[in-house]
Amino acid sequence: MRRTALALVAAALFGLTACGTSEPTASDTPSNAAAQPVSVTDARNKKVDLKAPAAKVVALEWNAVESLVSLGVMPVGVADTKGYTNWVTAEKLDASVKDVGTRGESSVDAIVALNPDLVITTTDEAANNIAQLEKAAPVLVIRGSDAKNPIGQMKTNLDLIAQAVGKTEQAKQLTADFDKKLAEGKQKIADAGKAGSGFMMADGWKQGSTITVRMFTNGSMLGAISTELGLKNGWTGAGDKDYGLAQTDLEGLTKLPDGEFLYIANKNDGGDVFGGDLAGNAIWKNLPFVKAGNVHRLPDGIWMFGGPKSAGQFVDAAVQAVTS
């Protein structure tokens, strides 16, 4: 019996070692040797040193993905490509972009298989996940958003990414375009005599008969942009410290004053809470802005936490909604 067992062990070990390898053992060749080294200090206050501007980039949060594409760098890998396509229309992904798993727990295997020069993620990612990724490739960590200064944070993120991929000129241009768009939007709203009028920005979802409403405070990017456009946020409650989002129920909406109620829904991902489910609801029907017909569904696919292109889409949609 024992001899059989030993034979089994031997056979198993033999089987395990005799399968060959997946790659030549030679180490990788240095690429792009002529390019200048890059050094960026990221949101963790950590210096990320690259031999050259990153060309093959994997991005694990959609705002980074969008910024990369805007800067002219198509990422090689993105977390949840299907979700990105549903929710972010500002910049399209090439069909060749690989899905590297979910946004919360991306697949390190998939990332490494792409052999990236740089991985971009946000401070929402757990520190140990980042530490893990850092063994695979340099990791640039951006702060998802900062409720104290959401627009500034968006620009900071764009700049960080631009430095890492060597596209600072393009970033300047994008920022300038966005600022111009913002100023023009503000002008249009002033011209329409809507300056100083109220707005509310929300999204929401339904489970059973329970509708959860998520309000965008001035600490959210879209809330801040609307304020920049010369509008006044009707929701005064506090939100979370990063994304500036507040949770409420339908009853909580009765606190809202009159104004333009903007909301985002997505036909590919759940229904339209404000336009559909609430149609017959007594509270909803009698809210001042609903009575006045000031409820606007923004076009699908404006990413609420995105980069300058998404923000620009929002400016257009908001101006259109408010001035129409």
Partner: protein
Amino acid sequence: MTAPAPEAETLRQPVRRIQVAGLFGAAAALIVVLAAVHLTQGTSSVGAGDLIRLVFGQGTDNAANVLIASRLPRLLAGVLVGIALGVAGAGLQSLARNSLASPDTLGVNAGAYLAVVVVAAFGVPLPVLPAGGVAFLGGLAAAGLVLALSAGGSTGPTRLILAGSAVAMALGGLTTLMLLLFREETVGTFAWGAGTLVQTDLDAVTQMAPVVLLGLVGAFLLAAKLDILTLGDDTASVLGVNVRRTRVLATLATVLLSAAAVTVAGPVGFVGLVAPVLVRLLAPLVPGLLRHRVLLPLSGLTGVLVVLASDVVLRAAFGGQAGVEIPTGIMTMVVGAVVLIWLARRHRDSGPSRAPAGAGSGLRSRRTFWLVTIALAVLLAGAAVGAMLTGDAFLRTGDIVNWVNGNSGRAITYVLDQRFPRVLAALLCGAALAIAGTTVQAVCRNPLAEPGILGITGGAGVGAIGTLILLPSASIWLLSGVAAVAAVITFGLVYLISWRGGLSSDRLVLIGVGVSSAATAIITLLIVATDPWNLSLAMTWLSGSTYGRTLPQIAPVALALFVLTPLIAHLRRDLDLLALDDDVPRILGVRLERTRLLALLAAALLTAAAVSAIGVVGFVGLVAPHAARALIGGRHARILPVAALLGAILVSLADSLGRTVLAPAQIPAGLLTALIGAPYFVYLLWRTRVPTR
């Protein structure tokens, strides 16, 4: 069978109509008061004054709208859920002849909830009524399984509770998996999963009300037969009751009620347990209270009281906004856990719930032991190598050889560098949990005990996630330290509460189940209250994951194994004796309590180290020692190494599968151990069930 004698005795007493009517009146009055307070609470500024003006026809439209579209639906949802769960709980307790039965402990809620989440995940926009049908089928399947496993609950409460928790855990694992994989589609379902009363319209309530009514009518029609059933199946048959038909019909009615409640508000925890228990408390004072035509409606009213009181207290204490953010079910779950613990403390040890100690534990030869050990070691090596090879990218063994020799290419090096700590984490945590489980089972003398069921894992989880929330950058040593302290405190609590002139292992397990429910509620509360948008954090901590582990994070587990394994190994003979009974070790001069505490402390520390490394992973500590006993007999000198090997293999296998099956999406290992472990546990219960006559 637990003796139904005292209850049958009270049943024969005549119904004191006036006292019973008084009780109903008091309950109704209390409900009216609570309902009035309930209506004044909410997120808008509409308060009591506005509502009173409204009554006198002077109110604003705003107040009227808030009342009609938000406050009333919430109140009615609470009433409906309370009645449904209260009656369902009372019915199930009678069916199982067991005061610990409830829609939660029988897995009905978990089954119904899973069904609802699956429907949501696949984006099928079902209206409320069919969704309720799906929930009904899910709940029915779960209840059927649990009742079958515990022989209808007549074999004693511990088996029932254990079968229920195991099934609920497995279903919960599946639910979490759906939530993880369908993040956008099911957002909002996480908080809802703890049971929330936030309602936006009366749709759910009005559509479910007829279903609840149907269930209530069914239950009341069966009331007289349920009375007779309390006298025992044989007596009931003699008295002309078709026992089987009555049981089936009553089960259908109670499951229908529970499923309707889940459809309206998600699984509101433990109401079905608490409500009938409160009524039974009054039974000695009011004769005739246990007649089902009194017991069922009164339990329903008590259910309403429990739900409304929880909701009122929640919002009075934390403000109207908290009523949106914190699910009502968390409150009822904490209350329910306390009641469960209290009930368990009163529970008299009834013996037969424990599997016969001899089940597969006959002495085996030394040769068998070595053969098994060698075979397992080979398997372990295979699992480890397999784990290094599999994942999103499949490698070959030659890659590992190159990696070990330091001449693998860049990609392979990175892949293996990140896989290595994960594989190691899975192996070490598996071994640690298995050793802890073996120790706990021996000391508790209960083959169904494990660190998870005793609440140790949950306690460690609360400590770890609390630390993470307060100090997001806490080092792994601090995290492990706090988790260890919390685990030991939790365990001490369970131990002390269940100590009543001696340690009854059944009581220990029942109280452990209560404490681990409370721990789960607290973990959910911490996440929902502090970081409601961070689903990944929640899922990882509630289901256990090796994702993103680095070598330093494994250090505490390695240290715990290194220090504590020799200690437990040193106690191996004492464990053999402890597993027999209380007297033999005493006679042989073992200092019973000291050894017991020492062994359990070691088990708690091992568990805490594993939890802080990979989160809450269930079933390993249960399954591994069992399989070990079945393979090589009952001596701990042999069980310990074999169980450790088995545990390491199990977690490693689960981890490899989780990384591979749905790649690039990653499934936490803990979910897969639950999916692998729960059926094995169910099989164990099935095999050791006491055959029904």
